[in-house]
């Protein structure tokens, strides 16, 4: 009998302790961010989708179409074309497409590039209604950004 009462008392006490903890948490500042109204800044190393880096001096992409990134990609989502303009010392990229539907954001492409011509975008609002929207023309995208 005594044990029974003791158990009821200690059990009830443990519940009160729990409620007290929850009550204290109620008056804490919220840790969540109200997303559509506020958004977080992504850290510098955040791996978003890839984008081409432009040379500030020439305004052209740094990419020399060496295909190393396309070969390093495990999901074969990079396709690019390049050509060598007459009189130029290096090849330039003419078409660079990323199929984002199969990209796993692993970053192997950026690592494989020896020309620092690829970087991660910090954009994470990537919802779309059509699959085609994820086949990204990185040349166009980068140009659009430059013009802004």
């Amino acid at each position: 009998m005594w044990n029974y009462l003791k158990e009821i008392f200690s059990g009830g006490y443990s519940l009160l302790v729990g409620m007290w903890i929850t009550l204290r948490h109620t008056f804490r500042r919220p840790v969540t961010v109200q997303y559509p109204y506020e958004s977080l800044k992504m850290p510098a190393r955040y791996r978003g989708h890839i984008q081409l880096v432009f040379d500030a001096a020439t305004g052209q992409p740094k990419c020399v179409a060496c295909m190393a990134c396309a070969r390093a990609c495990p999901s074969n989502c990079i396709s690019l074309e390049g050509h060598k303009p007459e009189g130029a010392t290096r090849r330039v990229v003419s078409k660079y497409t990323l199929d984002f539907t199969s990209c796993s954001l692993c970053g192997l492409c950026v690592e494989s590039c020896s020309f620092d011509a690829l970087e991660f975008s910090k954009d994470y609002n990537l919802a779309a209604t059509k699959k085609d929207e994820y086949v990204m023309d990185l040349m166009k995208q980068a140009q659009g950004k430059q013009e802004k």
Partner: protein, 372 residues
């Protein structure tokens, strides 16, 4: 007993638990044969999340398999990558710089803490308590923020490379981690007051779902499951790898074998992991984080290698057989969750359905890790 009474007694029905059921954390289906509320048989049906990771490992170069490793046990992705890179490094004879080993241990142990915190929250949801999940996620989020700043991703880190890690850690990370260690230590008494001492939780866990050490051995269960059954088996101690032999940490063991024991093992492991991280940060040497001269296309010499790491759920093993080309000839991935789930059928027999869910919860299953 008359025939009628016998048939009456044997009247059972079949209940599908899952594949889409809030209590199963993913696409796990369990075919339950129930006698009233008591379980006569529980047959796990797996494979809904099967993605052929082993086969994928055999038809792509070694480096291209790295992102896959984070997608098996995505709650503790560091360990899968760790096991894989260590196996390939051993095959190819690559030595990892000291600093990289330390960084690997620091990030892996942080990942273990994050995984256990997630487990505590999810397990309490299984038992019907919602609030603790919010607190554990609050703490876990801080770890993910730290790891994101270093690795660039929150779950599928893909951080380790053959010969080291891809990014060095900076002072912000070290300061943030130290702050977090102090913070989580101060939170532990709160968790114990809120959860461990709670009478409802105790009643749902103490003496429920006992797993004998014999059963653990029989089915190959590892990790907190076997340590909750009184066997001090931890790969970090049994087959030490990386810098673990140089660190001072305990392996928590509880002998009761019930849900409470497995819970306590994980809670103690959080504290031990924090100790490991702290020691590793104290002794962090300088130097490079990548070995020199690791070829871009790795071609390990012919050979066969098995490497075991202690993941958050138990022993995760990778067997790589190389035939000297740039692709593995055979890749075998031993996932801890598969073995841990295997004992469920035997151990849940005769249990109440609600108790069996508590048992299932303490196995800490990640379904894509089972299916691979």
């Amino acid at each position: 007993m008359s025939i009628e009474a016998q048939t009456l007694h044997r009247e059972t029905f079949i209940l599908n638990l899952g594949p889409q059921h809030p209590a199963t954390h993913g696409v796990l289906r369990i075919k339950l044969t129930l006698d009233g509320e008591y379980i006569e048989d529980a047959e796990p049906v797996i494979g809904y999340g099967h993605r052929m990771h082993e086969k994928m490992g055999e038809n792509r170069t070694y480096a291209k398999f790295l992102p896959n490793t984070g997608r098996m046990d995505y709650v503790a992705a560091m360990f899968n990558t760790h096991g894989y890179v260590c196996a390939v490094e051993r095959l190819a004879g690559i030595t990892v710089p000291e600093r990289a080993e330390f960084i690997r241990v620091i990030t892996a142990e942080l990942n273990r803490v994050a995984s256990h915190l997630l487990w505590v929250g999810a397990f309490l949801i299984d038992l019907g308590g919602f609030t603790p999940l919010l607190y554990t996620f609050d703490d876990r989020e801080q770890i993910l923020d730290l790891l994101e700043a270093v690795t660039g991703a929150r779950l599928t880190f893909c951080y380790y490379r053959f010969g080291g890690v891809c990014n060095d850690i900076d002072d912000d990370f070290i300061a943030g981690t130290r702050k977090f260690i102090a913070h989580l230590r101060s939170r532990m008494p709160m968790y114990h007051a809120l959860i461990t001492k709670n009478i409802i939780f105790r009643r749902r866990c103490e003496g429920i779902g006992p797993i004998s050490a014999e059963n653990c051995r029989k089915y190959g269960a590892t990790g907190p499951v076997i340590r909750g059954s009184g066997v001090a088996y931890d790969v970090r101690k049994a087959e030490p790898y990386s810098i673990y032999p140089r660190l001072d940490f305990n392996v928590p063991v509880y002998g009761q074998g019930d849900c409470m024991a497995r819970y306590l093992v994980r809670m103690d492991e959080i504290v031990e992991s924090l100790r490991i991280v702290e020691q590793a940060l104290d002794r962090l040497p300088g130097g490079p984080v990548m070995a020199e001269k690791v070829p871009r296309i790795l071609k390990p010499p012919k050979g066969d290698c098995y490497f075991n790491v202690e993941s958050a759920r138990g022993s995760f093993g990778v067997r790589v057989v190389s035939d000297g080309t740039d692709k593995a000839y055979r890749m075998k991935l031993r996932s801890p969750c598969f073995s841990n789930l295997s004992l469920f059928q035997e151990c849940s027999r005769g249990m109440l359905l609600a108790d069996a869910l508590a048992l299932l919860g303490t196995l800490d299953l990640v379904i894509p890790d089972i299916d691979r």
